[in-house]
């Protein structure tokens, strides 16, 4: 098992990073009925860990017994029936799924599953009808329609089930949903906190940590705890005992993007653009999400860029990121951004150096 999973806190009490949030949630669950919840925060901040611990707090250890299902939902949409395939993870008391995987058919998923859950409610020990918990990931990636129908179902079935929504940014979740949920913001852990977690893991694993090594990992992790633990484990595999100036292996795709960026800086021509396209294709084949590619590419380009161009380049990156969301084929838009950058940069070079 990876360390990320091995040292994931199982209960609300074990949680160290967001201790205050965890304690509040515990009180909430113990004292009264839990409202709908919306967790939001950057990736690697511990949203999922909190949610899992919360569910465990609600239902006890039975929540750990989960099964993964690849289920096909038959949805009757007016004139025709649609088959939607989706992976769900469920225990007796909760169901977790990522509705945005269903693409533009996500709205059916939300309705259908909630209806189904409402049909078979679990009965608790006192013979009282309990409620199920539905965990929805990536709510911010849901379409407008889906969010709208989610709102309706939330109202209609609120006595049957509780929703726990997870997303990175609450700004893409409609007001209507936000106001119906208790919003919980989960900040990215500070470097200090990451450092502590790494030290804790090191102690448990019986490792010698040279001074400054853990803080370097924490620094490089970009405030993502998952990232930090993963790279910590990789370092352990690469070289042990640790040396204080040991290189922390970067993610291969990030290195690849760095390479692309330096190629873009070196030459600006249609031919080079074509080569860049080939490399972008390779990233896409390996399932790196295009938004992340664009973001990272911008980050790498900005590092080497003259200050006066930064504003313009950022503007165009934002522009093409938007177009990419509107469009269908990401490569068209990433490439347009690269071409625009090349064009700007070349003009700049000519005007400065003649």
């Amino acid at each position: 098992m990876l360390w990320v999973d091995k040292y994931r806190p199982k209960t609300l009490d074990q949680i160290t990073v967001h201790q205050d949030v965890a304690q509040n949630l515990k009180k909430l669950v113990n004292e009264q009925d839990c409202p709908h919840l919306l967790f939001y925060g950057p990736s690697g901040s511990g949203k999922k860990t909190l949610v899992m611990a919360l569910i465990r707090q609600m239902f006890g250890p039975s929540a750990d017994k989960v099964k993964v299902e690849n289920k096909t939902w038959k949805v009757d949409a007016g004139t025709r029936t649609i088959d939607i395939e989706l992976t769900t993870l469920s225990s007796a008391n909760h169901v977790e799924l990522t509705p945005s995987d269903a693409g533009f058919q996500d709205r059916y998923i939300v309705q259908e599953i909630i209806k189904e859950m409402a049909k078979n409610r679990p009965i608790d020990s006192k013979g009282k009808r309990g409620h199920k918990v539905l965990v929805l990931n990536d709510v911010d990636k849901l379409s407008r329609e889906a969010q709208h129908s989610l709102r309706r179902t939330m109202e209609k079935y609120s006595s049957y089930c509780r929703l726990i929504l997870c997303c990175n940014s609450s700004s893409r979740v409609t007001e209507a949903i936000r106001s119906r949920c208790l919003n919980v913001r989960i900040n990215g852990p500070t470097e200090e906190q990451i450092f502590k977690v790494l030290e804790y893991i090191g102690k448990k694993e019986g490792l010698q940590l040279p001074s400054g090594f853990a803080s370097r990992i924490a620094e490089k992790s970009n405030r993502s705890l998952r990232r930090a633990i993963l790279s910590f484990e990789t370092c352990r595999v690469q070289q042990y005992p640790f040396v204080s100036n040991q290189a922390i292996p970067p993610m291969d795709w990030e290195e690849y993007i760095t390479e692309i960026a330096s190629e873009i800086m070196k030459e600006q021509s249609p031919k080079r653009l074509f080569q860049v396209r080939g490399k972008l294709y390779e990233l896409l084949v390996n399932c790196i999400p295009p938004e992340i590619i664009l973001k990272r590419l911008l980050y790498e380009l900005l590092k080497k860029l003259d200050a006066e161009l930064k504003h313009e380049v950022c503007h165009w990156a934002a522009y093409y990121e938007h177009r990419m969301r509107l469009g269908q084929k990401a490569i068209f838009h990433i490439e347009a951004f690269v071409a625009k950058f090349m064009s700007i940069y070349k003009t700049f070079l000519i005007s400065t150096f003649g």
Binding site: L97, N286, P289, K329, H333
Partner: protein, 605 residues
């Protein structure tokens, strides 16, 4: 040179016609018929026979083809005399030339010699050692319409002295007919069912020698001409499995003829079906021979042969034009020839009967203009590659032809010289270009056609292509497929993509040879999708208690596991296998680049 043996059908309809008109002709006709030893059955009869199970299929004695033809001519004479006596025959004309001049010998075939030999050798092999276990007994012949696929099989069969049994695709039952049948108590069977049971019988019992066969020792060739059209995946699978079984177990040498359409131009589902079936047949072990469109020269040869037989004198350039307009389709060329010859026939035909019948025809009067007009050619279509070439090469008039519009002035930098082609939308229309593939092709290839220095142009083009993509996706899946709004959207997107490329590429390279590649994007999308599936299956439930975000898995878990791979714990083993596949895939991709470039060479127009 026709695809099917049309004579029986033609004659039988004539028979009905004549029967209705005059009893004298009927009598005469009957007489001829009774003299002929030829077994003739209409397809309909054959179908009934099949249903009853008494006879396996329509049978024709290939050796008798010549006799048959002479009989036809015989009949024609009789018939035309009848027409003269009746005085008003405007519908019944001489036989169609495509039937009259169907090839009877290998020499007359316009098909490429090599292909014919290939098929011939194959049949010879099978007929010599019919019980041979090596390889299957099925040959698959594909090619565009009218290149003589069926004719080749017919001619070879008669050349080898084999009896040809034929499955023709049955005509669909129309609704009224079905209702009529219902009252008459005839059960409806689907065409696929009919075909399946036919194939099943052929597989089990082979060809049952029927009463018509003169010599039961004579070898038999089965010709399956056009498979039944399937609708839906389930039907397709049924057809595939039935064919697969047949290919593997049949004892009768069989030719399956499939007419294929151009792949790149249509995204029709039927095309995909046909391709799948072809693939399935090949997998089952069928030998495949693909016929190409017939070259202009052999079409010209065929036309001149017919001209000399009919004693028409056509100019070389007229023959040339007919051959060119046919697009490699001999049947079409001969039909155009016959139509074209209607006009000269007024002058040079000597037969009085022909003249008389022509008087009543209205067709020639519409062809009065002296100029060699071309109303009968196949619709001029451009291939997708031709159209793409036009757009990518971006040919424009030279500067001095530029007409400056004074009242509508544009900035210098936005000025472009006029296009040296039809309006792009028209070209698109001719090429039947669909917006999505057009945009993908342009995106893949446009950078090759740009000046080394012109990165600004590259940006403009990329930006327009992005616009086209946005247009294409805006209502994707929300509207019904054939919605007008979506159609317009697609047209607009195609127009934006094409015009964007034409406008943006303001410094095109001087024309030279270029390869047009198939969009690599399609391949990328396919493999990224399958990778995604794989990653999802193996990773997402990973950790056991929670679904991980997919992007997180792809960007963090996978790379980390690549590093961790060296210390494979049993738990990671499968994950490592996956990452290995991934890296292997990278190499495959980069290796593929070279092989794809030479796929389609196009000339500079």
């Amino acid at each position: 040179m026709t695809k099917k043996e049309n004579n029986p059908g033609l004659l039988s309809s004539d028979e009905e016609y004549c029967g209705g008109r005059s009893s004298s002709s009927k009598r005469r006709y009957r007489k001829t018929k009774s003299q002929s030893p030829l077994p003739r059955k209409s397809t309909r009869q054959a179908k009934k026979a099949r249903l009853l199970g008494s006879r396996s299929c329509l049978q024709k004695d290939s050796r008798n083809v010549d006799e048959f033809n002479s009989f036809c001519e015989d009949f024609d004479q009789v018939f035309s005399t009848f027409k003269v006596s009746a005085g008003s025959g405007s519908v019944c004309r001489n036989e169609l030339w495509i039937d009259k001049y169907r090839p009877h010998s290998l020499e007359e075939l316009a098909v490429q010699k090599k292909k014919v030999d290939e098929v011939k050798v194959w049949f010879e092999d099978r007929l010599r050692t019919p019980m041979d276990a090596n390889g299957s007994n099925v040959i698959l012949i594909t090619g565009p319409a009218g290149v003589g696929k069926s004719a080749t099989v017919h001619v070879i069969a008669s050349h080898l002295g084999a009896r040809l049994c034929e499955w023709d695709t049955p005509t669909p039952v129309i609704w009224r007919e079905h209702l009529h049948n219902l009252t008459a108590g005839i059960q409806y069977t689907s065409k696929l069912d009919e075909f399946e049971s036919f194939i099943g019988r052929m597989r089990k019992y082979g060809v049952i020698p029927s009463c018509f066969s003169i010599d039961s020792k004579q070898p038999v060739i089965l010709l399956i001409d056009d498979l039944p059209l399937t609708n839906g995946k389930a039907a397709l699978r049924r057809l595939q499995s039935c064919l697969h079984l047949y290919v593997q177990s049949t004892q009768v040498p069989t030719a399956i003829v499939i007419t294929d359409c151009a792949k790149a131009e249509t995204t029709d589902f039927t095309v995909q079906y046909l391709e799948e079936i072809q693939l399935c047949l090949e997998n089952a072990g069928a030998c495949k021979v693909a016929f190409n469109p017939i070259t202009n020269n052999s079409i010209k040869k065929t036309i001149s042969r017919i001209c000399s037989c009919e004693q028409y004198d056509l100019a070389v350039e007229q023959i040339d034009a007919i051959a060119k307009s046919s697009g490699g389709d001999v049947r079409h060329a001969i039909m155009s020839l016959q139509l074209f010859c209607l006009k000269p026939s007024q002058i040079c035909s000597s037969s009085s009967s022909a003249q008389e019948s022509l008087k009543d025809e209205e067709m020639p009067h519409t062809l009065v203009d002296d100029r060699f007009s071309f109303q009968f050619g196949r619709d001029e279509t451009l291939s997708l590659f031709h159209a793409l070439g036009k757009f990518l090469h971006n040919k424009r008039h030279s500067v001095n032809e530029l007409v400056l519009d004074s009242e509508f002035s544009v900035q210098e930098s936005l000025l472009r010289r006029p296009l040296n082609m039809d309006p792009p939308e028209k070209v698109l229309c001719q090429a039947h270009g669909q917006a999505r593939p057009i945009a993908d092709f342009l995106h893949e290839n446009v950078l090759d056609f740009m000046n080394e220095e012109a990165i600004d142009d590259a940006w403009v083009v990329a930006s327009y292509l992005g616009d086209a993509d946005t247009l294409l996706s805006s209502y994707d899946g929300m509207l019904a497929r054939h919605n007008d709004a979506e159609n317009i959207l697609h047209l607009a997107a195609a127009s934006v993509a094409v015009r964007g490329v034409l406008f943006g590429n303001s410094h095109p390279l001087s024309s030279r040879w270029h390869a047009i590649r198939r969009p690599k994007l399609w391949q990328i999308e396919g493999s990224s999708l399958s990778n995604k599936k794989m990653v999802k299956q193996r990773f997402v439930p990973y950790g056991g208690i929670s679904l991980a975000h997919f992007s997180v898995v792809a960007t963090e878990y996978v790379p980390a596991l690549k590093w961790l791979g060296n210390s494979v714990s049993e738990d990671h083993e499968k994950l490592w296998a996956l990452t290995e596949e991934n890296t292997g895939f990278d190499m495959v991709i980069s290796g593929d680049q070279e092989s794809h470039t030479s796929e389609e060479e196009i000339e500079d127009w």
